[in-house]
């Protein structure tokens, strides 16, 4: 039982680490304020769920989610990325909420507030008894790919330009780079990665409903990035470990001790406090950004 609990926590950590790495690409390295991360996570979850229920294999659902997320990313990025940084924050936050309303109201497609149960799990019949072990390996395999991809990307000329945009956009434009195009690219790439994480989430739980995709999920991921170390992929993974151990831990604790406060409220309050305290006193997080090697 303890073993299953540990594996369960590990799987959650892996899923959120992918989401945190994707946020780090756009927000940590490029300063794109995506306050609607949950939208892309939800697209990944719902698209692959609906495709698998229709009998498609897991991989088709995964790719379907990636394609739709890329499209939504483009749709949001095109009108907003030219404008002030804070407009993106407002628009993405709103997009996440509108998308949740869509999943809630379009009952013919999503069963509305009831959610969708019995989502097929990939290769379930093969690993039946040890399925959770297989799933943990799947999640960590994909996490490893995402981590290596993110590291390669930010150490490439493309990634170094992104960091330069963050530090001084005007200077990058002087060198003749189209910063708007670069920002769109990284926003779309991050959105696709968030979708993968959402797909893994849906097929692990085998059940999704619109109330799993509140904005607080977005801010939980922001907290992982801020406390772990903005613009440091290892840091944000550490952040994902801490926040998930804490989140799973308080859920687990609830079954054994009675707290004077509602654990859900306590969890959100502590996440809010962590955000404030780290921004105030340790804005670089636990692990600082590595100085970049090489030239632009």
């Amino acid at each position: 039982m303890i073993f299953d609990y540990l594996l369960d926590t590990l799987i959650y950590i892996g899923i959120y680490a992918i989401l945190a790495i994707s946020l780090n690409l756009e927000a940590g390295y490029t300063r794109l304020m995506n306050f609607g991360k949950v939208a892309f996570f939800a697209i990944g979850a719902y698209t692959s769920t609906l495709l698998s229920i229709a009998g498609m294999p897991f991989i088709v659902g995964l790719i379907g989610g990636i394609i739709l997320s890329a499209l939504l990313g483009l749709l949001i990025a095109l009108p907003t990325l030219r404008l002030r940084a804070d407009y993106l924050a407002i628009v993405t936050l709103a997009s996440g909420e509108i998308l949740r309303l869509f999943f809630l109201n379009e009952q013919w497609l999503t069963d509305g507030p009831m959610g969708i149960r019995g989502i097929p799990q990939p290769m379930y019949t093969v690993f039946e008894d040890n399925y959770i072990i297989f799933y943990a390996l799947l999640v960590y395999g994909i996490l490893l790919i995402c981590y290596i991809f993110a590291e390669k990307l930010i150490n490439s000329p493309f990634g170094r330009t992104l960091k330069a945009i963050r530090d001084d956009e005007d200077a990058v434009q002087v060198f003749g780079k189209n910063t708007f195009n670069l920002k769109i690219k990284v926003f779309v790439i991050s959105s696709c990665m968030a979708s993968i994480s959402g797909t893994l989430f849906a097929h692990y739980l085998a059940y999704i409903s619109p109330d799993m995709f509140f904005p607080s999920l977005t801010f939980s991921v922001w907290t992982m990035m801020v406390i772990g170390g903005t613009a440091n992929n290892m840091g944000v993974i550490m952040g994902a470990v801490m926040i998930q151990v804490f989140e799973r831990g308080t859920r687990f604790l609830k079954d054994f001790v009675s707290l004077p406060v509602e654990p859900y409220n306590l969890r959100i309050i502590i996440i809010g406090l962590l955000l404030i305290l780290f921004i105030l006193y340790r804005p670089d997080g636990m692990i600082k950004e590595k100085k970049s090697k090489g030239r632009l």
Binding site: I90, N265, I279
Partner: protein, 296 residues
């Protein structure tokens, strides 16, 4: 047009009156401190629940609740500045850090309210008769909402045009450096901006709570509309915000009727503000009465 009747106009004026109260503080802070303050939503909610203590817990008239809500929410605005934003300013933190911190404050306040009062729906206690008006119906509550909001708008107009404090506030928001050079104590003026802006958000929360109901998400639900009003009106523009509030009030009330005529779920009401927000960003990102800024 069959559905452009008196009722829509009455409802629009009521909605607009509430939005003005919420948007004034948001737009002032946005202009002066250059960041989108997401915790403004929780000032609204805090005001609503403060009045609940006075009105229901203590059994006094809701008017007393309104006054107390103004003062206490104004003080909460000041507290959020002193405890967090002022420290970030003195460290020279970016607008992005301020927005993340504002999210943190919002989470802490909202979840604390939920911890104290629970997630359940609550109502104020008051009586409100219904009257006929030119083929529509209007309640006594609606008359009060419109009257209170109009009175405050005139007071603010007087403040901004006739008093030294109000002129200094406008000076600070128009050009902080120039204001400082001409001997205005910017930090002192900022305290007033937080107090008045926060207090009005509290009043907006009470009016909204009286018009609908109280839930811990009350402020969060109107945040998108408030941002749409601020951006449509032009960031920092008081008169623009008034005009935009009534325009958005009309768009939402007309839009809801339109949605049901088109047999689309009225659950999409929040999407109306979103669509308007996107249109403004695409067509006139500095709003109807705002100043075009460098870089935008």
């Amino acid at each position: 047009m069959p559905f452009l009747d008196m009722q829509i106009i009455i409802n629009s004026v009521v909605t607009g009156s509430i939005y003005v109260m919420i948007a004034v503080g948001l737009t002032m802070i946005y202009r002066v401190l250059k960041f989108a303050n997401f915790s403004h939503a929780e000032l609204v909610t805090f005001g609503a629940y403060t009045a609940y203590i006075i009105n229901v817990s203590l059994g006094l008239n809701l008017f007393y609740g309104l006054v107390v809500a103004f003062f206490l929410t104004g003080l909460l605005g000041i507290a959020s500045d002193r405890l967090v934003f002022k420290k970030l300013r003195s460290k020279g933190s970016s607008v992005i850090s301020m927005m993340i911190a504002s999210i943190g404050i919002g989470l802490v306040v909202r979840q604390s309210i939920q911890e104290v009062w629970g997630p359940q729906i609550r109502w104020y206690e008051f009586e409100s008769k219904t009257y006929e008006l030119l083929g529509g119906s209007i309640t006594m509550l609606h008359i009060y909402i419109i009257a209170i909001s109009t009175a405050i708008i005139f007071l603010l107009h007087f403040l901004f045009t006739r008093t030294k404090l109000g002129k200094a506030m406008r000076g600070v928001s128009d050009n902080p450096q120039l204001a400082m050079a001409s001997g205005i104590d910017t930090e002192k003026i900022l305290l007033w901006v937080w107090f008045i802006g926060g207090g009005l958000a509290g009043i907006g929360g009470v009016l909204r709570g009286a018009d609908t109901r109280l839930v811990p998400l009350l402020g969060w639900e109107v945040l998108l509309s408030a941002f749409a009003v601020v951006i449509l009106g032009g960031i920092g523009s008081f008169y623009g915000a008034i005009l935009a509030a009534y325009l958005l009030g009309f768009a939402e009330n007309f839009g809801v009727v339109l949605l049901s005529e088109l047999s689309i779920s009225t659950g999409y009401r929040p999407a109306i503000a979103f669509i308007i927000l996107i249109l403004v960003l695409l067509l006139k990102p500095w709003g109807i009465m705002g100043k075009k800024e460098e870089g935008s």
